[in-house]
């Protein structure tokens, strides 16, 4: 019996056991909806767009079943959807919101100022291609668009991780040292529309981990007369941005604390920021985000069976960017192949955004691994284990001084 099977069997025994968790067959979206219930979110706004709408379906079902009570407001657009929760957050309400693809973009005016006002909104982005042509498969460009604004950004690879990360996101976002919004990215289809076995914690467990949201002297309230977001010009804005910068920097330690406490209380959660898979002696590393992890891990195991020293580093948090962790994980490798499920047309070496960030994170290292930049899985196209083996092959090639160029980007799985 493999260790993995042992885990599966153990989970059956754990159902309703002393851990106080129950096992449910739910999607990543439904897992996040359960967090809304368990975190007793006060205000949730909705506007339908695939694949994010799977969250609002589940939330509205829980409300109508009497399992959950909150202000559930169906807005007339994504813009209003995010404006409503932004304001609700200012008066001290715990909020949840979300969108996908161009819906997320339609809310951009609200998204841009949420971080500046230091409102700890938690959102789910059901990653979806940016239209046209009405494509609804996963690409990461939607969520990545807020990367410069002070939003914290996490990418998850399983429904369980979606649940755990959403709980951690509330704790980090609402920490007064941070007070920044956080978006949890779930790959459309593979997480939003696929039901997996998930351990859902009890109310007591969540209450023991997540303190109430308290804005204290920043709460907009008649008893606490304050103004939020008055007109600010060049005399003020730079100082305000600097404060934002410091909050984003402080988020690192708060995230680390949250994972430590989560691990102690829930017995899982893993390393904050990145996941290292078979990285101990890896000479070649693959890097990616989200559900790419599945075919990549399958491919890594296959290549390991053939004696290839290859590993996988999954970026779990894109903001704050895990610079130190990636330097540590990848610094000892000969070559790194990054799989971007996004594009940044006309950028450095035509690379995707993850590659570009990673390249600059590794630049200060004394001995830098070579970097192969690839783009795959756009529009929700399946990335197969064979695709990954092809990509790893390019990294081995570049490590040995082959023809693969570090100054180009390779499109994998595209029809010529």
């Amino acid at each position: 019996m493999s260790p993995a099977k042992a885990t599966a069997v153990k989970r059956v025994e754990a159902t309703g056991g002393p851990s106080g968790e129950t096992e449910e067959l739910i999607s990543g979206s439904e897992a996040i909806a359960h967090v809304c219930r368990l975190a007793d979110v006060d205000v949730i706004t909705a506007y339908p767009i695939r694949p994010y709408d799977t969250v609002m379906q589940c939330v509205s079902q829980m409300i109508s079943n009497g399992d959950f009570d909150c202000e559930f407001i169906v807005a007339e657009s994504e813009h209003s959807q995010f404006e409503i929760v932004k304001h609700a957050s200012a008066v001290g309400a715990r909020v949840f919101c979300g969108s996908s693809g161009v819906g997320w973009f339609y809310a951009f005016e609200a998204l841009a100022v949420t971080a500046g006002l230091r409102l700890p909104m938690v959102a789910m982005v059901g990653n979806r291609a940016l239209d046209d042509p009405g494509a609804f498969g996963v690409e990461h460009n939607d969520a990545l668009a807020v990367r410069d604004l002070g939003w914290m950004l996490a990418w998850v690879s399983t429904a369980q991780e979606a649940l755990d990360t959403a709980l951690i996101a509330y704790r980090v976002a609402e920490d007064p040292r941070v007070f920044l919004p956080c978006a949890i990215s779930c790959d459309g289809a593979f997480l939003t529309h696929s039901q997996a076995i998930v351990n859902v914690p009890s109310q007591e467990m969540v209450d023991g981990f997540l303190p109430p949201y308290d804005r204290a002297e920043k709460q907009l309230h008649p008893d606490n007369p304050i103004t939020i977001a008055p007109q600010a010009n060049e005399d003020w804005l730079m100082e305000m941005r600097r404060q934002n910068d410091m909050a984003a920097r402080r988020a690192r330690d708060v995230i680390i604390e949250a994972y430590e406490d989560f691990g102690a209380k829930f017995g899982r959660g893993g390393e904050p920021f990145i996941e290292r898979y078979m990285m101990e002696d890896a000479e070649v590393a693959l890097v990616g985000m989200g559900t790419l992890a599945m075919p990549v891990k399958v491919a890594v195991r296959k290549m390991r069976e053939q004696g290839k020293k290859v590993g996988f580093t999954r970026v779990r948090w894109f903001r704050p960017f895990p610079t130190q962790e990636l330097q540590d994980a990848l610094g000892g490798t000969k070559a790194v192949a990054v799989i971007d499920r996004d594009y940044s047309f006309g950028s450095t070496f035509y690379s995707g955004t993850l590659t570009n960030e990673l390249r600059s994170a590794l630049y200060p290292l004394e001995s830098r691994p070579k970097i192969v930049s690839t783009i795959a899985g756009l529009g929700g196209r399946e990335v197969t284990a064979d695709n990954v083996i092809e990509i790893a092959g390019m990294a081995f090639d570049v490590a040995e001084g082959g023809d693969v160029s570090e100054e180009d980007t390779y499109w994998i799985g595209v029809r010529e």
Binding site: A8, V9, L25, D132, G137, A196, E416
Partner: protein, 381 residues
């Protein structure tokens, strides 16, 4: 160490909850045996349209590592079992996301079992199913297709009956014991458990040879690469000239995309009584898919390659009993009704009467105002 998968092909909206119940049932039952699994819908079917052939899947593995190979995929292609929730789907399926008409047994693995709910015989069904080229089994759960709506679920136990049948034809995926435990836990209704057990006992399997079945060529196509596609998301229009019909002097047949057939969506089709038709044009005007060909003598003939069976023509026709929607099960071809009528008026009248009498069950929608109240009264009698 193994992984198994079940495909459920069903009618969008009408059978969505049923398909979900079946896939969840498989995963939850397998969980009773210490296996781990996922249940998911084919993403490109979402959001579903009425009657569109759609798919959901259940994949179960002995270990999480094995399951990983099947996560982040759209559809497993070597299924142990394909469940067909409506036997009219046996003619082939085409999703609204368009893959062209594909055989119902396309994703069934060699030696797998096609489980169909049907009141027809195995021999009759096999004739409508594309030849697979490798042997498989056809198992029939005796039942008419169960259709619900967007907001309601008709809990007639078809979901658990199919789960019971699954335990019989594929005990390596889930045992009857696990299935009944999972049903009991999910629904807390012992009558559903009894239905599953009964289906387990009653399901009948027939071996289907590699060469058995319809010899119709499945639709095939190739997709151009980025160097060949027109830039800027441009699609050239098809020839807009009306189609010429040999032997037709006059009339009008609009040009239609020859590769996009919508008929696999259909669960009922309109049959038209040309003897009472007043040529008022309403059906032709109202059909959302421009299905009506105008015949040389000015009648309106619903083209069965194009008709998706929405029922609008029946609803708008001002002449009593002139257009009637009839369950698709009653038909074997897409031939022109008008041509049949012109060749043999009396024979057509008899055919019409027989078809309407034979399969009066409607899959969805209403024929006239007040029909819902009548049906409720019928059932509570």
């Amino acid at each position: 160490m193994s992984t198994a998968s079940v495909e459920v092909v069903y009618r969008g909206i009408f059978q969505k909850t049923m398909a979900k119940n079946i896939c969840r049932g498989v995963v939850l039952a397998a969980r009773k045996e210490g296996k781990i699994g996922i249940a998911f819908g084919r993403y490109s079917d979402s959001p579903e349209r009425n009657g569109i052939p759609a798919k959901q899947f259940a994949v179960v593995s002995d270990s999480e590592e094995e399951l990983e190979e099947h996560l982040s995929r759209y559809e497993p292609d070597n299924n142990d079992v394909t469940i067909v929730a409506d036997d009219t789907l046996c003619k082939g399926v085409e999703s609204w996301a368009w893959y062209g008409l594909q055989p119902i047994n396309k994703l069934l693995g060699d030696g797998g079992t096609l489980v169909v709910t049907s009141t027809q015989s195995a021999n009759k069904l096999i004739k409508t199913i594309h030849r697979k080229g490798s042997p498989y089994d056809l198992a029939i759960v005796k039942a008419a297709a169960s259709f619900s709506g967007l907001w309601v679920y008709k809990d007639d136990h078809t979901d658990v009956r199919l789960l019971g049948a699954l335990a019989k034809v594929a005990p390596h995926i889930v045992s009857l014991d696990s299935i009944t435990k999972a049903i009991s836990e999910q629904w807390k209704d012992e009558s559903k458990v009894a239905s599953a057990m009964k289906a387990y006992d009653m399901v009948e399997s027939t071996p289907v040879g590699a060469d058995q079945g319809s010899d119709a060529e499945p639709f095939s196509f190739s997709m151009p690469g980025w160097t060949k596609m027109e830039e800027g998301l441009v699609i050239r229009g098809i020839d807009q000239k009306p189609q010429e019909v040999p032997g037709w002097d006059g009339g009008y047949v609009p040009s239609r995309n020859p590769t996009f057939k919508k008929f696999s969506t259909r669960t009922m089709r309109p049959v038209i009584n040309f003897d009472t038709c007043t040529k008022c044009t309403l059906c032709w005007l109202s059909c959302p898919d421009t299905c009506f060909d105008i015949t040389p003598d000015g009648f309106y003939d619903a083209n069965m390659e194009a008709c998706c069976g929405c029922g609008v023509c029946e609803a708008v026709c001002p002449v009593a009993e002139c257009v009637t929607m009839v369950n698709e099960e009653a038909f074997e071809d897409n031939d022109s009704q008008w041509e049949m009528w012109t060749k043999d008026t009396a024979g057509y009248a008899a055919w019409l009467t027989e078809k309407i009498a034979d399969k009066p069950t409607r899959s969805h929608g209403f024929h006239h105002v007040g029909q819902y109240a009548e049906e409720i009264a019928d059932e509570s009698r």
